[in-house]
Amino acid sequence: MKTFTGAEILLKSLKEEGVDTIFGYPGGAVIEIYDQLDKSDIRHILVRHEQGAVHAADGYARASRRVGVCLVTSGPGATNTVTGIATAYSDSIPIVVLTGQVPKVLIGNDAFQEVDIVGITRPCTKHNYLVTDVNDLGRVIREAFYLARSGRPGPVLVDLPKDIMSMQGSYQKGRNVKLKSYQPTYKPHLKQLSKVINLIKNAKRPMILAGGGVALSKASDELRRFASKIVAPVTTTLMGLGTFPASDELWLGMLGMHGTYRANMSTSACDLLIAVGVRFDDRVTGKTDAFASQAEIVHIDIDPTSIRKNIPVTIPVVGDCRVTLQILNDLLEKETLNGVRKVREPWLRQIEEWKSTNPLAYDQKEVTKPQFVIETLYKLTGGKAIVATEVGQNQMWAAQYYHLDTPNSFITSGGLGCMGFGLPAAIGAQVANPGKLVVDIAGDGSIQMNIQELATAVQYKLPVKVVILNNQYLGMVRQWQELFYKKCYACTHMEHAPDFVKLAEAYGATGLRATTPEEVAPVLKKGLALEGPVLMDFHVEKEEGVYPMVPAGAPITEMLLV
């Protein structure tokens, strides 16, 4: 039988999985692999920090619905990926992280650049592997991709000892992966679904809560059909933004700590809550005892551990969101729901009232309001951009004021809340969508966490546009200090920041600045029209807050409104 080196087998396996791009950073333990990679037609994007590589692979996966791949060396290369892996794990993003490892014979000897990355990442990967036999390599890679993308997706790490990469081994073309210990449930129990139908028929005030699971299972169309059929208003979590069109009349806005007034009020008043692909994070539920306390709750999710973890539910449905909604829609086809709109009338009227009581708003005076920048961006792009965000106030304003109509266009670190995510993720999203406008909405704090990736964007001519809402504060923490710590702004004032315009120029990108509200639209227009990466620095109101805000642990109806 013909044999190949480990590195050759690795590259063959990656090709077979349809990999066209790898985000990575070379090092001693992966030289062998890079040598092969150079001879293959897989594109390699050289990042400037390994954290950037994982976030870019993650952004690529979120924007393309494919598995993102990153390749780094052993030791520090591997540990630098941990934050990115945890980010992908929190948001169930399918990525495969390939890490170099010291030669097998040296493992456990505290060798140079040795670290037990499999041990370190065990709690933040869906699964991980240390390859100890070159003949296992093909199978392991196949399993890694299969695990990453199937069921509830997530990051999978494969640790590759250096000597295995140069050993000769056999390679067989892929067969379907079958793991007897891993069989996700795609098709839900029909008995459960008929109970759901009954609840829908009897509900007077139903609503739908959609989460990241809807985006991951590509269930947006089914969701829309479902909502309009049963005439139920829809809210989403941060991760679910875009899965239901913001232009739809049934759209309530986002739910939770910084959710809209009407979404939070509706959730507390509804008598049926159909939750699809969510995990009831504390930022969504607030005080759990008070959450949807008048409602029967239906929870649809592919991961049984998500169900009844935080919130007791009436009807658990384990299944893929798309498959489940499809079946529900088919079942509803046979039902007579003629009078449903009439029954819902008072409920929809009530929601309409809430809409006008406390809508999202800000008061634009002499100093630029950050919300105004986002709103202007939204208008100028027609809501058509892929928006990545950093984490903090910038992220929440983006979620509130950039209204999305399509899924997979809001790239944000929801679960982990990882500052420094946005720029590399935007780069990944741009690689996956070369023709599209990709904007990273950033704060002056978080942009500095992975600013080095600007060099990556310049090198590969990735025309990412960065919008910095510069308030010279770590704004979200400052806001908490203002509200809950008697305005003691301990260590949140970033007095010194680089001159972002000069910094952009130093990297070979374009830098622009707007210091007044009048300059906002012209700067955005100019920046968006320019070729290549652009960094736009907007000097905004220093002490603006994100509202509504539900204090941590309070019921979501107890919103601070200004």
């Binding site: 869906k126 210990s181 551990t305 009436t314």
Partner: protein, 174 residues
């Protein structure tokens, strides 16, 4: 609504002891995955025992934990989610046979020796090592039996003990 209330009531019954019998792929790191799951999520491990089954590719982990229904339900779901876990069985009450082995080194003063031997006999245990001042006793039984035996030996002076933790199998249906 009714179902939710019922569930909350059940949640109030706290601290039930559960023996979980977990069949896993005999892979390196699998024990660490299971143990890490418990520590990472704040679940309890009272005892833990691992060995191969008849199939050398599969190991059985017998793990004793406690918690209310909600917690144990979550424990089981999380275990099932681990890629290397094949099956999770939850033994409660009388549906399983449970045994644990203990080795007990007890001080054997001349005036106590007869008493120790009598107790060894009553508990159907054995003396497996005899020293100048100590006997080492081997005892099998469920948790209750072992605790009872230890309590009886305590006044004589227990020097050391080693316990395996529980192992269990489901009872055949009668």
């Amino acid at each position: 609504m009714k179902d939710r209330l019922k569930e909350e009531e059940v949640n109030r019954e706290e601290g039930e002891r559960h023996i979980l019998s977990i069949l896993v792929e005999n892979q390196p790191g699998v024990l660490s995955r299971v143990a890490g799951l418990f520590s990472g999520r704040g679940f309890n491990i009272e005892s833990l025992c691992v060995a191969e089954t008849m199939d050398p590719d599969i190991s059985r982990i017998t793990l004793v934990t406690n918690g209310d229904m909600g917690v144990v339900e979550q424990v089981k779901k999380q275990l099932n989610k681990l890629v290397d876990v094949l099956k999770v069985l939850d033994f409660m009450g009388g549906d399983s046979v449970e045994r644990e082995m203990a080795l007990i080194k007890v001080r054997a003063k001349p005036e106590n020796r007869a008493e120790i031997l009598r107790m060894v006999d009553i508990f159907r245990s054995r003396i497996v090592d005899v020293g100048a001042e100590c006997y080492t006793v081997e005892l099998t039984g469920d948790e209750g039996k072992i605790m009872a035996f230890l309590n009886l030996l305590k006044p004589m002076g227990i020097k050391e003990i080693a316990r395996t933790g529980a192992v269990a199998l489901a009872r055949e249906k009668k």
